[in-house]
């Protein structure tokens, strides 16, 4: 037993070291911009850079639209699959896993071929259309995370009975989804939303190949041309991702408790 505990700690420390040493090294390097002293100079430069602000704002807006699109697409789909088509669940789960298997570059080349300016759906003919295609691409990349988060949330409630209870009280589908289902899976939806946000903020391939001024290509550009700023950006990106994860944890405490419990 004692030996088991010892090896558990060894494994934990090795794992933590594997994760934290590069991070600490990056942090340490990012603070050495001024010779001979530690400072946040690199962070000041990065945060004061107009291109940082523009690209970050662009990616945040893209993330928000991606989340809205993802929620509109995934919540009704996952709900309907649970309610009426449970036999289709394995098929839908497989489809939602495809973005993990198919590289983003394949997806984006497919988009360019399908939605080029000479196609019947010329998304790429205008800036607005390209932005819309970018959001659609992001929603596809985030699909595995969003679908699983929502589906897990739906599993914790009695979808069928709650739907029937709302129906018999006179509610239509919009009311049922908006006032009964969505609020009860809100925490799960938010988890999916934050994962989507984290993916979109650092995404490079789709944004770069669609030539959008997003945060991912900006990160890559800085990394290719500067020394200390990319390290500072990496730490900022980590902080954003961790912030999102922490928010998921905090929000999960506010999840509605199940109504069903023994008398």
């Amino acid at each position: 037993m004692k030996s088991g505990k010892f090896w558990a700690w060894v494994t934990f420390i090795l794992g933590a070291a594997y994760f934290f040493i590069p991070l600490i090294a990056t942090l340490e390097f990012s603070m050495r911009m001024k010779r001979g002293e530690y400072s946040f100079e690199a962070y000041r430069v990065v945060l004061g850079d107009a291109r940082f602000q523009e690209s970050f704002t662009f990616s945040v807006v893209a993330a928000i639209f991606t989340i809205i699109l993802g929620v509109l697409l995934v919540v009704p789909t996952a709900y309907w699959i649970r309610l009426r088509l449970p036999q289709l669940r394995p098929v839908v789960e497989f489809v939602t896993l495809l973005p993990l298997v198919i590289p983003a570059i394949v997806i984006v080349f497919g988009y360019i071929r399908m939605y080029g300016s000479s196609s019947p759906l010329p998304f790429l003919a205008s800036g607005f259309g390209t932005n819309a295609l970018l959001v659609i691409g992001y929603a596809t990349l985030a699909l595995p995370y969003m679908y699983r988060a929502v589906d897990t949330g739906l599993r914790t409630i009695d979808v069928r009975t709650l739907t029937e209870a709302a129906q018999i009280l006179g509610a239509g589908w919009t009311t049922i989804i908006g006032r009964v289902i969505l609020p009860n899976v809100l925490i799960a939806v938010l988890s999916g939303a934050f994962l989507t946000f984290a993916i979109v903020i650092g995404e490079f391939t789709v944004a770069s190949l669609l030539n959008r001024p997003a945060f991912g290509p900006y990160l890559q550009n800085m990394g290719a041309n500067r020394a200390y700023e990319p390290a500072a950006l990496a730490i900022i990106a980590f902080a954003i991702t961790w912030g999102c994860m922490s928010l998921i944890q905090v929000l999960s405490r506010f999840a509605p408790k199940s109504a069903s419990r023994p008398n």
Binding site: I157, I168, L169, G170, V180, S260
Partner: protein, 354 residues
Amino acid sequence: MAEPFLSIQHVRKSYGANTVVQDFSLDVEPGEFVSFLGPSGCGKTTVLRMVAGFEEPSAGKIVVGGKDITRLKPNQRNVGMVFQAYALFPNLTVAQNIAFGLKVAGMPKPDTDRRVAEMLDMIKLPQMADRYPYQLSGGQQQRIALARAIAPKPKLLLLDEPLSALDAKVRVSLREEIRSIQKKLGITTIFVTHDQEEALSISDRIAVMYGGKAEQVGTPFEIYNRPATKFVANFVGTLNVLEGKVTDASTGKVQVNAQEVSLKGKLNGSKSGDTLSLALRPEAISLARQPGHDTSLSGEIAEVHFLGSVIRVRVGIGGNTVSLDTFNNSTTPPPVVGDKADISFSSGDMLVLH
């Protein structure tokens, strides 16, 4: 009989080749409390769900207040329903749960608040308005579910085994509360249960269901005392079944284990030589000959179970065993296994099962 408020006419429900409800018909009067009683899989919940609109009948018609609602969606039927699993919305408070149907119907807020307060008073939980469902006991949750179902003043109230998830004590008090609220509001109610005691204690009429059909529809008194079929007799209450043979159909003589019983006028066309199943409720039998009992059979005490206020005795009569209950009397010792015993009953209490 008054014009039926709910009329279920020749309803059938099939899933592929599997027919779960076959040719079910029932008329329910306004304000009546009717229970669907039967074992699991008998189709009682399916009929209720067809009335609610969650299932579409494969054939037949459902009429409420003179209007055919067979093809209407559940949210267009103005029917209230209480579910076995409570089905309160976990994200809403008690007051918001009760107000849900009123809000959907577009009732102004002051009226909604007034109605919610009225409902909370009715179920005697006015202090629970701001609680969430998870903060309530099962009994409280089901009372809230009842208030939520009644709040929009539905034409019909459907109760789908609402007491099954509760413990015995709460079940009894809540069923009495449901019945008292139903009587007070005069709302036509269908109650689904597999618990015969529940059905017998609160219903105006009971439809005993088996194999997707109504075996018998009648008052609790009729169902218990005059079961129409063998299934009803066996399913409702405890029953002693004795095998007998008609010895003289004209005089109603039936032989039970070499002893003769007279069942004049009850043989329903049976001929001499036919075998019959005869049934007797335990409470119709006495251990000794009682005044008014015209029939007696001799046997031997096979088992004695002391249950406190009553003693359950099983008497072997030839190949049959008959159960009967006697009141415990501290001055009289209980019967002894192996003793000879005569049982007596009135032949009028004997049921001939078909």
